[in-house]
Every structure is written in structure tokens, then in C-alpha cells.
Symmetry: C2
Subunit: 368 residues, 2 copies
């Protein structure tokens, strides 16, 4: 197997940072101290909104894992075995999934180092991300599924383990588009003729935009979010914004769960607050479906369920939604008691979304 | 927008068959008869196993929709409006999703023709498939999501609405692979250097095989099933088998739900019995995870839940699983009370699946 991406600086940096962590335990032992590892407390109460960066980050509270107790010592032992595995994985330019790590631990020679559940190994990998300031992708840990796609006027180079591939995301792909790899930092953007990026929640709407040639007519890079977007999808969206200086617009269903999808693209999530700077695109704008669209375009709707209402009310308290715009929209939605899907726009004809809705709205937003 | 695929014979045939259905209503009116539509009864009791073709098909029982009653007349009215929409869609070389059809009906001028729920429009489209003997894909109805991928020594030509694309599913794609389009009958197989097709349930295992270069070493076309496979995935699997004369092997988790995934690739499902001949690959073989693997390789397991046990017991009664092999495996599994995931093979090391497990098993099965 080719190892073209071996010894790239990122891989080397990640490996060194991991080894440094283990070396710290070693030094603590050598100095006669009880080994410890200190990490930010990862609870909702220790999440802060960073006004400057516009993203969620961890607060100042920390907790310490110490080998003073048996359970603390076991945690550090597991960390050491995991660091050893990851360092070797990086050395050999391999990768693995979180689930494989969990199963693989069964082959470790010390039983106390083996994980009792996948939650335990997942949490440990997140701890290592936080402490080492290296992302899971740079450890070469893959998710179980990614699967989102890109279609638009963008030519890129992907560094695969079989060599480089240059792919134009309209001319060199089928109607399904370009499949985003698990680690999109293997991608280099070569050329583009794009005016903005449109992130789309559902596959049905993604296919509609592509069929109607919206990406060609408006020079749009269409990113399929596939519901709550995977890390790879959020990462490439951020890179498209930062590196190509393209506006990012998010297009979802009109319900509280979809507003959270927008929130996770724009601001990051509580679960991955340590990665907000790596994954979030604070400049991302929300195009719709907005509650005002339900009224203005008389869209087919479903009534809000109790859990929808609760979710909307909790969004009214959510720092990410403390703007005039969101307050108005959420209060309007609670008032009318209705939600609508992206594809409800089809009630005005299959071309309404690309001929009328998006052009009108994007021009109001100064995107086109 | 280009309309290269306009006027292909398939599109024309589909359009004519739809028009014929509507013409039948017209003739019934003209002769002074009450219009009716007769379709096979679509219940579990009217499903038969076709021994010759090795697939599920509908039995002889039929039910008749007649305009004698208001509700029957409304059903036929909806069918007529839908036929009109589909015929125009084919004429214009457009496509749409089932959900768009449901919403679009709100724009129809006669209120009684509009659908009350998406179940109603979905069922009607299936009825039209059965009566016209044309598949949904040939009506240009897309699913909401497809998203499975292919990686392997296969060069194909996809007819997109922007022209033809020639893609080699190893050399011209990134690590994510080639994205199967919604209607894989737009694909023509050009060249291949493949010895067999391996359909893989989970993304984690698909990525493992690709990382380990299994597709290159054994000349395998790796098809990612993504859990219960979409119609597009089953269709292309069948075409790879039929047209390229390649053995098809299915590799899933070792639990009753995964055996059903194998069953749907091999024999079709009850829900789409009218499509078994179009979607099913009766010659597909099951490689594992088998209950005997749990014992033989001492894999990490989870205990069977009550619903697992019920599902296994119902598979013992299922005509699709009436073979010596499946009886033995299912009885063994009920006996040991355990299930295992594909990735549990990682407990023997990350290369065990590609260096040992698959080569041993596939050679026993005479596939390699």
C-alpha cells in the first residue's frame, strides 16, 4: 500500500503531542509524583460562549485524573495503551474507527487496560483530543459513517493512500456528487468558480437543486448536510469559507431540530466545544425554511408537537439564538404552531425553490 | 439544462404504459362502464415464494378499486392526476421525490385529487408500479436518500443530465468512493478487472477493507450497503452479478437484523415483492459474521435481546432461510445467546479481517 501521506507535518505533530502526554506520566513517575492528567470539566455548566470567536468553548473548570485511586490509575493505564496504539498507527500511516479501537483493546496484554464499553473509549479519545490539542482526524481515527457529498464549481486534490486524485466536483463526478472523505484535511482546493456555499439538510432538496442546475446557474457549491452534519462535513464547510472566502448559507427544514443543525454548522455543539474553532463557521447565515416563509408562501405544514414546542422554548434561552432575527422567528413559530419541510416548497411547483424562493431570499441577504 | 437522456426507449416505454392506464379509464367511461383498476392484494398472506426465480412475488389474489364508491372514485382521480404529472415529468426529462409528489398535489386544481398523507401517495406510486409493470425509477421518482458507494476495479459510464461521465471506481474517485446515483440504470459498465462483488453492511468495515487495499489485492468491487440497502444499491448489485457474471458475497454483522439485510439483497423484501426480479440477486452468498464465527474466533459479543430472539425464531419460519446452513446457524445462535458485530474482528488486530478471515472463508466458499 502506498504511504504517500506518511511523514506529513500534521501526522508528525500529532504523534509527538501524544508521546509528550505519555512522557509526562513518565516524568511524574521519575520525580516520585503520582501521575495525573488534568482536563477541562466537560459538563454543560462549564461551556462558555466565546464572544470574540463566536463559538462555544470550555470554561476554566478542570478535573484531574490521578493514579491515587484504582479507578484513576486504570484510566491513565488505558490512556497510555491508547496513546501507544495511536502513535504506532500514525507511524504506520494507518487509521481506524472508534469502534475498532474499542474491540482492539481486547487484544491488549493487560486486562485492566481494556475498555469496558465503547462509551469509555470514545470519551478517552475526546479527552486526548482536548489535552493534546490535536483533533481525532489527526490521530487518524475515523467515524463509522460520514457520507455527505459536494456538487459545484470546485476542483480539488485529494491525498488518498493510493496517491493523489484531482477531481472537479461537477465535471468528474456522477449525479451523486463528490463523496467527502472522513478526513477532509487530505483535500487541497485547486480552482473554483464559486460565489457561495449552500449547505442543504435533506437529500431530496439536494437532488432538486442539482437537477434544476442551481449549482451551475448561480455558481454554488452545494454541500449535502444529511441531517445533523458529520464532523467531516462541518470541517470542509469551514475550510470552504475560510480558505476560499466564500459566504456560507444553510438551508434546512423549518423546525427547531433543523435550527440546531444550522447552529452546529455556525457555532459548534456542546459535545464538541473543544473543536469549535476547527469545525464551526460563525459567519454562516440561515436562509430558511423560516417560520415567516410558512406564512408568506402559505406552505403545507404539520402542527408543532409538544417536543417541538419544548425545543423552541429552549432555543429562546440558548445563547446561540439570542438575536433579533431568531427571537422573532421562534416566537412567530410558537404563535402559529406550525412547522414545514424544505420540500413543502414543491407545493408551488418543482421549480419554485430555484426560480423564486432562493433567488429572492439570497438577494435580500446580499449573497447573490 | 442538457437533456441527453431524453427519449431513451425506457423513458418512452414508461410514459406509454402510464398513458395506457389512463386510456383504460377513458375507454371504460366511453363504453358506459364504471372505471376500475385491479391490482394484486398487497398483504403478507398474498406473498408467494417463486421457486424457479428464487424470489418473493405476489400471489393470485387481487383487489379492485372501483369508481362505484366515493372513496374508490377519489382513488382513481388521484391516480389520473398522478399519471398526468408523471407523464409530463417524463416528457420533460425531469424527476422528483415521493415527498415532492405529495406536496405538489396541493397545487392540483381539484381538491379531491390532492393527497391526504404521504403514505397515500407512496402507496399509489407502488400501485402504479405494479399495474404498469414499470419501476419507480423509470417514472423518474427518486428516493429521499440513497448514498451508498462503490470502490473497486470497475470503469463505468454514467449518463447524467449534464452529459456522460466516465469514472473508474478506484482511479477517478477519492477515498469515499463512487457515489451510486438514485437510478443506477443510467450506468453502463465499460471495463472491469473484478473477480467478485463484496457487499458490506457498515461504513467502518467498508473503510477498513479499502484502507487495507482488499479491493486491489483480491480484485473486489466493494459495495457499501449502509445498513438496509436502498433500492439503488440492490439494483446495481444485481446488475453487477447479471451483466458481469460476478459472484456476489454479503458481509454483515452477526445478528438477525443483518441476516435480513442479506435476505433483502438475495431474495427481495415483502414490501417490494413486485420488484424482486428487478432488485434481488438470488445467487448472493452470505460470508458472515456467522454464529459459528463467534465460537470459532472467540469474538467479543453482546447478549441476544428478547427482540433478537424473536427475530431469529421468526427467521426459522421464514421461507428465505429454509436451508440446512441457516437452520444450523440460527439454532447455534439461539443456543449460545450471543451476537457480534463485523468490527469485532478487530479484537484479533486490524488486519485480521483482510489477511485471515475473508481469505479463509472466501476460499472455502470457492469465491477466491
Amino acid at each position: 500500500m502506498s504511504t504517500d501521506s506518511d511523514d506529513t507535518p500534521d501526522t508528525e505533530v500529532a504523534r509527538e503531542k501524544l508521546i509528550d502526554l505519555a512522557a509526562e506520566f513518565y516524568d511524574q513517575f521519575a520525580e516520585g509524583d503520582v501521575p495525573t492528567m488534568t482536563i477541562p470539566t466537560r459538563t454543560k455548566s462549564n461551556i462558555e460562549y466565546d464572544e470574540d470567536k463566536d463559538v462555544w468553548v470550555y470554561g476554566d473548570r478542570t478535573s484531574t485524573r490521578s493514579a491515587k485511586t484504582v479507578s484513576g490509575a486504570e484510566k491513565l493505564l488505558k490512556a497510555t495503551y491508547t496513546i501507544d496504539f495511536l502513535a504506532r498507527q500514525l507511524d504506520e500511516d494507518r487509521s481506524s474507527t472508534l469502534r475498532e479501537l474499542y474491540y482492539l483493546s481486547e487484544s491488549w496484554d493487560v486486562e485492566e487496560a481494556q475498555f469496558n464499553s465503547q462509551d469509555e473509549s470514545n470519551d478517552l479519545v475526546e479527552d486526548l483530543e482536548i489535552v493534546s490539542d490535536v483533533t481525532r482526524e489527526d490521530f487518524h481515527m475515523r467515524p463509522e459513517e460520514s457520507g455527505a457529498t459536494i456538487m459545484g464549481p470546485l476542483k480539488l486534490r485529494e491525498q488518498t493512500r493510493r496517491g493523489e486524485r484531482e477531481i472537479h466536483c461537477q465535471k468528474d463526478v456522477g449525479e451523486g456528487g463528490y463523496q467527502i472523505p472522513n478526513n477532509p484535511d487530505t483535500i487541497e482546493f485547486l480552482e473554483n468558480d464559486a460565489d457561495f456555499v449552500l449547505c442543504v439538510e435533506t437529500g431530496g432538496m439536494r437532488d432538486r437543486l442539482v437537477e434544476n442546475g442551481f449549482d451551475e446557474e448561480y455558481n454554488v457549491i452545494v454541500v449535502h448536510l444529511k441531517g445533523q452534519p458529520a464532523r467531516a462535513t462541518r470541517r470542509i464547510t469551514k475550510r470552504l469559507h475560510d480558505e476560499l472566502d466564500l459566504p456560507v448559507v444553510v438551508f434546512t427544514d423549518g423546525d427547531p431540530w433543523s435550527y440546531r443543525i444550522y447552529g452546529s454548522v455556525a457555532y459548534g455543539s456542546i459535545k464538541s466545544a473543544h473543536l469549535s474553532e476547527y469545525l464551526a463557521t460563525p459567519a454562516a447565515q440561515f436562509v430558511g425554511i423560516r417560520p415567516e416563509d410558512i406564512v408568506e408562501y402559505d406552505l403545507p405544514t404539520d402542527p408543532l408537537s409538544d417536543s417541538d414546542i419544548n425545543a423552541l422554548e429552549s432555543e429562546l434561552e440558548d445563547p446561540r439564538f439570542q438575536t433579533e432575527f431568531w427571537k422573532e422567528q421562534i416566537e412567530l413559530q410558537l404563535d402559529i404552531g406550525k412547522k414545514a419541510e424544505q420540500q413543502a416548497l414543491a407545493s408551488r411547483g418543482l421549480d419554485f425553490v430555484t426560480d423564486t424562493y432562493l433567488p429572492e431570499r439570497l438577494s435580500e441577504m446580499d449573497v447573490i
